[in-house]
């Protein structure tokens, strides 16, 4: 050893690297430093190993080792025939797979479901990969165009009118309901004590209704003309396209800067026309498959994707409403959130399915699946509102003040400064709600919708496949499917969280 105590020191030969005296890397190192380094850890390690032993080993035995892999019917999965205690009966899943995916969707039309799945994946994957360009176009295709195309693919049917006749129809309905309310008040005024007052209000409302009637008369007339002529859809389409393009042009800044808006709205209408033509929507479209025939994974995915996509905007709107300074909006948001959070999802689904039709006016029906969709969207929306509110509360006041001082309006401050930060804070909570929504979709089976789990249980009753292990096999399969989707969401959210929070790492 050199003597550093003396005042001058110069190293003669450099020391070479040598391994640590106690092994800290590799398997032995792991055992020594992490698993067996203290009595508590030894105990925990043993308990953990036992737990793994008692869960993993039986699962693997059931799913793989003792499983039956081929066969034509139940006989293959019986212990007498197989010669060993049979675990999973996979031929049963294989035989029932179409039912589990499509439900009672007619076999000849199943390509439509497959095409929808393919479209969804083709549009969703590029949206999820941050590196790929054109996110705006991609998002509008997935969130706006895809649901419409998917509806006509899955449900079928065509369209008779377009924007013009829809607007005319809506305005007509609006006008009729106003006049109807006025008439009701008028007839009530004949019997009620507050007669004169009711009569006054009633005639005022009827007057408004009549005024609206005269206002929309040209529109109705135009619609009737178009409907009278042949090719009514295309005439309607042309009128709508022209009007919307002109409005876009005007709003986009007219002759100076409106050309971009004009070009993109023309492109959008060309695309719409192509889709209409391609799917033959002008000639009745594809054969209608009513939603009571849908089932299996199809229903699970339709319900959960719709729920996920619609609940977030609902939640954001409610959370912002809850913090609003306008009392009416705030009270409405609070009441809405508390109502939906206070009711179990099952009640919501029952209400939507069996009670809602009683409240709707006579000839007005809403499809059963749509009712469940709306119920789930509102229910999850209320939960998401509370998640988002947590994120909003975490944003310091100074952020909004700084944005205001720069001249940003409330909307721009909210959408550019507050929400992006708030949502980043609560990604784990949001995805947590998405995951629980995905699993809660199985509740729709109690309102006569056959989702994955519902179809599975329906298949249990098939005598051709009834064996002791059929139910276990089926539930194991469903569990694996649910797990794949939920685990996928969970991992993706971790990835997004990590990426978006780049600014929080130094």
């Amino acid at each position: 050893m050199s003597d550093i105590a003396s005042s001058s020191f110069v190293r003669q030969d450099l020391l070479t690297e040598r391994p640590a005296p106690v092994k800290t890397t590799g398997f032995v190192g792991l055992m020594r430093t992490r698993l067996f380094n203290s009595p508590t850890n030894i105990l925990l390690t043993i308990v953990g190993a036992l737990l793994l032993w008692f869960t993993i080993v039986p699962s693997v035995r059931f799913l793989l080792v003792d499983a039956v892999w081929s066969g034509k019917d139940r006989t293959a999965c019986l212990t007498e025939n197989a010669g060993f205690a049979v675990g999973a009966c996979w031929p049963y899943i294989q035989a029932k797979l179409p039912q589990l995916i499509y439900g009672f969707y007619p076999e000849a039309e199943r390509w439509r479901v497959n095409l929808t799945f393919v479209l969804a994946v083709v549009l969703l994957v590029p949206l999820l990969v941050p590196r790929l360009p054109a996110k705006g176009l991609n998002a509008s295709l997935f969130f706006v165009a895809f649901p419409i195309v998917a509806f006509f693919l899955l449900h079928g049917g065509g369209i008779k009118g377009f924007g013009l006749s829809w607007t005319a129809g809506l305005l007509e309905l609006f006008d009729e309901s106003i006049s109807g309310a006025g008439q009701a008040l008028l007839s009530l005024s004949k019997t009620s004590a507050a007669g004169p007052l009711l009569w006054l209000v009633g005639s005022l409302i009827v007057l408004v209704g009549t005024a609206i009637h005269w206002l929309i008369l040209p529109l109705i007339w135009l619609r009737d003309q178009i409907q009278g002529a042949g090719q009514s859809l295309w005439a309607d389409f042309a009128v709508t396209a022209a009007v919307v393009c002109l409005i876009a042009f005007g709003l986009g800044g007219g002759l100076r800067t409106g050309w971009r808006a004009l070009a993109s709205s023309i492109a959008a209408f060309v695309a719409i026309a192509a889709v209409i033509k391609l799917m033959g929507l002008d000639r009745g479209g594809l054969p209608v498959v009513t939603t009571n025939l849908w089932g299996g994974l199809l229903v699970t995915l339709v319900v959960s994707v719709t729920g996920i996509v619609t609940s977030l905007p609902i939640g954001i709107a409610l959370a912002l409403g809850r913090r609003s300074t306008i009392p009416l909006i705030r009270i409405f948001s609070i009441a809405f959130i508390e109502f939906w959070r206070g009711v179990p999802l099952i009640t919501v689904l029952f209400f939507a399915t069996y009670m809602l039709p009683l409240f709707l006016p006579g000839n007005f029906t809403v499809d059963g699946l749509v009712r469940a969709l709306i119920g789930i969207a509102l229910f999850t929306g209320a939960y998401q509102a509370e998640n988002v509110r947590g994120g909003l509360a975490a944003i310091p006041r100074g952020q909004g003040e700084a944005a205001a001082a720069l001249g940003l309006s409330w909307w721009k401050t909210t959408s550019l400064i507050v929400l992006p930060q708030a949502l980043r804070h609560v990604i784990p909570n949001l995805v947590n709600s998405f995951i629980s929504l995905f699993k809660d979709t199985s509740l729709v089976s109690i309102v006569a919708l056959f989702d994955l789990l519902g179809s599975l249980r329906a298949s249990f009753s098939d005598p051709k496949w009834s064996t002791p292990s059929t139910a276990f096999t089926g539930f194991a399969f469903a569990g694996i499917i649910y797990f794949i989707f939920c685990f996928g969401m969970s991992r993706y959210s971790l990835f997004v969280e990590h990426r978006l929070n780049a600014h929080r790492r130094n």
């Binding site: 952020q399 003040e401 700084a402 720069l406 930060q421 978006l500």
Partner: protein, 245 residues
């Protein structure tokens, strides 16, 4: 003398029952640098936050560059476009890079194309001497650098008046100087500035006028020389004796 660019007259403000600002009158001429000082809770922040309508007030009038801001805050947007503000706690947007912090308002408020906004922002970042940090996030910079970015961000909107609310109070001593230097540069370029600060050195060097506030009112206003050498009011003397020690 030119017309005042900021004209505050008869300004009164209450928080509930608490009378924070009492009959404040203050005229600021174009290019003038005013330092506002006073004990904690005297209403300095409240006063300058009223100027760009971050706070509402109940009585009086504020006119900024001819735009009138009454108690109903009618022309908020127009006023905010003329007034830049720098906060004690920087208030940079942590999820945006430095460059995006500086281009956000020009793009979304003034509708300037992104390229031009970025070019302009880089000029301002050069002026505060941090162009090479443009792609960092605020959380990756020191306090002094963050405050200089905040100054650059306010400047990108080409304000006619800059408000500073204790811009150096949250900074370590060695960073105070870099921010003050930036502000001195700004003053030398002729910017109209209202600065709430306890940096008396800055007041002596840069200010045209020092305004002393206490209990929501202006107690004394004078040129820095007069103000420090011969304070008139007893409260001013007490305050100065405490901070100048």
């Amino acid at each position: 003398m030119s017309d005042p660019i900021v004209k505050i007259s008869g300004l009164n403000k209450w928080y509930g029952d608490f009378h924070v600002l009492r009959d404040v009158d203050l005229d600021v001429r174009k290019g003038e640098r005013i330092v506002i000082c006073g004990p904690s809770g005297s209403g300095k922040s409240t006063l300058i936050r009223c100027i760009n309508a971050l706070e509402e007030f109940q009585e009086g009038e504020i006119v900024v560059d001819g735009i009138e801001l009454g108690p109903n805050l009618k022309h908020v947007d127009a006023v905010r476009r003329e007034v830049g503000m720098v906060f004690q706690s920087f208030n940079l947007f942590p999820h945006l890079t430095v460059l995006d912090n500086c281009t956000l308002a020009p793009i979304w408020v003034r509708n300037i194309p992104k390229k031009d906004a970025e070019a302009a922002a880089m000029k301002f970042l050069e002026r505060v001497k941090i162009p090479h940090q443009a792609n960092k996030f605020p959380g990756q910079m020191s306090g002094g650098q963050q405050q200089r970015v905040a100054i650059a961000r306010a400047l990108t909107m080409n304000p006619k008046v800059m408000l500073f609310d204790e811009p150096t109070s949250a900074l370590d001593p060695e960073m105070v100087k870099e921010v003050l230097d930036t502000m001195v540069d700004l003053a030398e370029e002729g910017m109209t500035m209202l600065v709430v600060t306890h940096e008396m050195g800055f007041a002596r060097e840069v200010a045209n006028r020092v305004v002393f506030m206490d209990a929501g009112q202006i107690i004394e206003a004078n040129t820095p020389n007069e103000f420090f050498a011969a304070p008139q009011h007893a409260r001013t003397k007490l305050f100065l004796s405490q901070i100048l020690r």
